[in-house]
Structures are given as C-alpha cells and as structure tokens.
Symmetry: C2
Subunit: 377 residues, 2 copies
Amino acid sequence: MPKKDDIKIFKGLENIYICETSISFIDGKEGKLVYRGIPVEVLAEKSTYEEVVFFLWFGHLPRKDELEEFEDEMKSARKLDEEMKDMIEKFKTSHPMDLLRTIVSIMGLSNSEKKKSDEEKALEIISKVPTAVAYHHRISMGEKPLEPLDELDHASNFYYMMTGRSPDEKISRIMNATLILHAEQGLNASTFSAIVISSTLSDLYSAITGAVGALKGPLHGGANEKVMELVEKIGKPENVESEIEKMIAQKHRIPGFGHRIYKTFDPRYRILKRYSKEMVRNDEDERYYRIVERMEEEVLKKLSGKGIFPNVDLYSGILYKFLGFDRRFYTAVFAVARLAGWIAHIFEYSKMNKIIRPCGYYVGPMDVEYKPLEERE
Amino acid sequence: MPKKDDIKIFKGLENIYICETSISFIDGKEGKLVYRGIPVEVLAEKSTYEEVVFFLWFGHLPRKDELEEFEDEMKSARKLDEEMKDMIEKFKTSHPMDLLRTIVSIMGLSNSEKKKSDEEKALEIISKVPTAVAYHHRISMGEKPLEPLDELDHASNFYYMMTGRSPDEKISRIMNATLILHAEQGLNASTFSAIVISSTLSDLYSAITGAVGALKGPLHGGANEKVMELVEKIGKPENVESEIEKMIAQKHRIPGFGHRIYKTFDPRYRILKRYSKEMVRNDEDERYYRIVERMEEEVLKKLSGKGIFPNVDLYSGILYKFLGFDRRFYTAVFAVARLAGWIAHIFEYSKMNKIIRPCGYYVGPMDVEYKPLEERE
C-alpha cells in the first residue's frame, strides 16, 4: 500500500481526464458548448433532433439521403409492443424515472436482442423511450395513451404523444431545441455510469439502464423537478427575495443554479429562458415566469461573485410546465433527450475500451482478530 | 481548454484513488485480501455470509444478539411477491443477468419504497435477490421453483432453492465460503458503477441495477461463464496444452487468469480450488477438474513471468457446476454474493458524497460550419 503522503485522492474525479473525446466541448469560463465543433445554439435554432443524434453518433452531419434513411429507421422503431404497454399500465403509479429504468431493462430481455447490432439496439432505445414516457404520462394524467404519428418528426411526435395536441411550427421548433440542448454534455454522472458499465463489455441496455438510474438523482437530472418544487413553494414573485436569502443563510443548494464546469452563464439557459417567455399564455404562466426571473436576479446579485450562475435546469422546468408536461415527468423528458449523448459516448469509448476500475485508499484497521461469536462485546 | 501536453489521461482510472475506504484492502503483490482487517480466508473458513454482510455494512463483527436480529430480518424478507414470480415466469428464457437487472429495477417501483430507510431497502435486495435467481434457475431447468426455508442460513437456503437438495454440513460451508469470497473486492467496475449512480443521490435500487448490468460484462463477472465455455471446448486434459498455446499465439485473453491488481496468486483461488476438488463426485467431474488444473499448469508455465496468475474465476465455474448450478447462472450467483460489497460501498461513499464527473479531453474539430442539408456532400 502506498504511503498516504504519496497519494492524492481525486474526489468526484473533478478535472480528471479519462479519455479523449470528439463529441462535445464545454468552455466553462466562456460559457460555450459545442457538439462536434458546432455551437449548441446554432443546432438548437437550425437543426432537428434526429440530425443531431446522427451527428453525435456518426461524427458528420448527414447528407439528405442519410438523414432520410435514419429518420425512417427511427420512425419504424417507435411503437411499443403490448408487453411494454401492460408493464406501464401495471406500474403506472411509480415514479417515471423508476419505470423508465425498468422499461429499458425489459427491452434488453428479449432473446432476439443478441442478433441485433449495437446500432440497431441504439435505434430501438432512442425511438421507443419517448413513446414509453409519453404513454406513462398520458395514463398517469388519466388520459388515453396515443400511438406515434409517422408524419411528425421525433420531437414533435413526442410532444403530440405527451399532450394529445398537434404542435404548431413554433412548438415544433421549441421541442426540437429543448431536446437538442439536453442531448449531450460531456462525461456527467449519467453518461459516465453508462461508460463504466459498458467498459466491462456489457450490453447497451445495461448501460442505458444505469444511466437512467443516475440521471434520476437530485444532484443531476432531478434538478429541474426541484426548481419547480421551489417555485411552487415560493408561490409569488414578492416572496422570492426572502426565500433565497433564507436558503443562502442556511447554506442550502438552490436548484437551477451552479455547475461543476460552467462558472458563467450556461449557453443553454439563455435559449430556454427565451422559449419559456414565448410560451407564457396566461396569468398563472406569467406568475411562474416572474418568480423564476426574480430568483435569477436575486441569486445573481448574491452569488455570481462566487461563480454561481443560472444553469440549464432553471428555465427548463417552467418551459415543460408551459408545454403541458406533468412535473413528475421532467427528468424523464431530460432522459429522452440525453439518450443521444449517452449512446454517442458508449460508441466512442468502446473503440478505445479499457475497463474502468479506480481505487479506494484503505484507511481501515489491519490484523483484526476474528473473535468467536460468544467472546464479542 | 488546457494544452494537451499539460494534461494526463488516466485510462481505466488505473491507480487513481477516488476516496478513502475502510471496507477492504487488496495487496496485489502479496496476494492478500482483507475485509475490514480480517483476511478473507479466515472469514471463508469460520464465518457465515450473514455475519460478513453485517461486518461489511456496519464496520464491526456483530454481537450474538445483533447477528440474530440481522438474520431474522434477512429471513423475513426472502419471499418474492406474486408479481415478481409472474415476471420471472414471463421472461424465463432471458439471460439470468438481464432478468436480475430487471427484477432489481422492479423492486424499486413500488411506491412504498419511499417510506423505507436505505437499510431496509438493502435488506430487501440482499434477501430477495437469491430467491429470484433460484426461482429463475429452477424454472429454466424445467423444475418446480421452491419457497425459501426459514431453518436454513442464507447461503444454505440459496443452495436448497437452486438445486432442491438439502445441503449437508460440507456443502453449507462451501456455499458460505463461496459467497463470502465473492462478497467484496474494492472499487471494481460494478461497485464503481453503483457508486457513480448513487453519487447523484439517486436511490439504492438504481445503483444496484447499474451494478448488475456492469457485472454482466465478460471483462468482469461474466468471466466464470467464459472459463466453463473454454473448458467444454477443450473437452479433455490432453487438449489443454495445444489450446492454450494457440490462444497465447493469437493473443487471446485466457478467461480465469490475470487481474488488474493481483500480480500473484489470488487468495480466493486457492480456496475455491480446494473446494472444487472436494466436490468431485464422478468421472465427468474428474475430467473437468483435470482440464482446469492442466490449464493452470500451462498458463503458469507460460505467463506467470508476465504477472498472469489464476484468478477467482478459474475454479468458481467448475465448483458451481459440481454444486449443480446451470452455467448461464454463474454470473448471477456472483451477483448474489457481491450485493454485500456493492451496498457496503454505497453506504460508505454516501457519508462523504461528492457527485462523480470526470472529463474527456476534446480532440474534435472546432468552428465547424452548419451547412444546410442541400449543400452537404
């Protein structure tokens, strides 16, 4: 065992590089995020989710024929089989992330999976997961679940299956943009879980099941749900200042703010803020929007000097609310988007695979005697 | 972004310390493994699996009253509910590790889980998983599944539920020993997956689901199944030399040999070898044992100079065969044992929790133009 002075413990693996990557780059000081060299804002404005998935997985923007083929493959894999629907019905009162984790695991149960290539498995997962999430959403809202519509793109179809409404052009753009903005973000905890699992040469379903489980945590994807809980607790804009002051005084983490890497404005936050504002349709929406905006002002005033800025979760919660999504499903909507990045990293890491096995530094006792049961005190 | 010369990439996180730990210590040069200061051989010979679980989770050997209470709690949580049995029946043709991953995920679906403490959840998982694995084992062998027997200890009851036979004293000792030997092994890939997932403050079911998915991989828990495949391919002791020579020439990894940390004999291998020998009951067993022994001789002759020695997987496969377990279930038997270590590490890490988020070093292009679809070539 090395001496304690000779080793260093890398808590949380902060700033530890585990591989090279060509998938995305985050400049935390400048507040930049690029996917394979293209700023995420450009993709959010101009691209579709399908195109971004292709780009992240295969490394180049698809030609027209490539994109059409890819879109067709995704469409043809959207439908759930009856077994899956029965499972969702049976466990409909569960938390959406717990059910989603189970659904992905069940996808891996079919024996036929062994005959599928990893790309086919990836297409199955990314196409069916939104249908499963929306199916659960509809049932849990007491509404009839809907079958996917072939004439809609991936993001628009997801909106339709979630809400039962046909998206207009603006909503289609917002849906594509929000999925694109959440599609990829480097080696965060859920993506890293997927990499660790697949580094044993386990299968794609196992890796994604693990990633869903990790994203569920309130320090990760669960944060947008926490923002909404806080907004509802605050209740009105006038209460923001005192509540934020109290939270800071009590050293509580304020959901929607702060990030391991971004030490300035998260580029995704600006776009989501704009879309949230555009989606305000009534007085209640207005009140929610104002509360979040006031939270932003207060936190910036008090904590930006400490490098704490609004992050992607701050406005995504109210945007999802304005779109008509139930709060319990916010993290699952995040998962629907992030499948793109999880799978891109699994594909990339598998090409240079090395099993991931760090160490713990042993600080426990040595030479402990095994006393017989009767002699223990 | 730091310059490439200024950073180091820690592939596989080899020799990277992520935390302090008091759970186990491996001396790879001396071939030692201790659980909280007690050599694993001592525990394998004298202790029971329940006692080792208590020791790993709570840090001290239990007093008589503590152990009795813990054993009672484990016993009372062994039974599967009907829903779980139906799931196993429905997906009985699946790989046992895929089904186990799903079963653990389903355990997390019940809404009542939120009212349970982490210790209660841990007890539920560690008590029910062996029942689920054995239930699946019996059905897939075309046998009637069995209910747990309260008069048997954890390991003996697992043997009974797997095989339908009542274990004699020798088999009870072997079953306890094999579960104890596989109970804990530091921050291997499955344990680390569990830690990464729970570092987001996600729940225990999510963490264990991920760990099962990681253990499934052939570079990790899947190795004992691979040893048996190789043994069956080799067929008789006389074929060992040529097959091993061929594998070495083709630079194939030989399952059952080599380890990231042990650069000498794995202490667990000796015990499992002895038990395998004791369990030989007929000519076929003898033939299997002789093949593995010949593999050991050949590999040691040719590769021990390179630090490649027999590991825990070499004899565990044939031991499981001699005990009457079907080969497809070997990794699931490993999982039954390793639950102890997974949960011990989750408990320990949660006391000093920091979300785990490493970095990838971006080597992709920058300033890529977003060309409209029509202009792409």
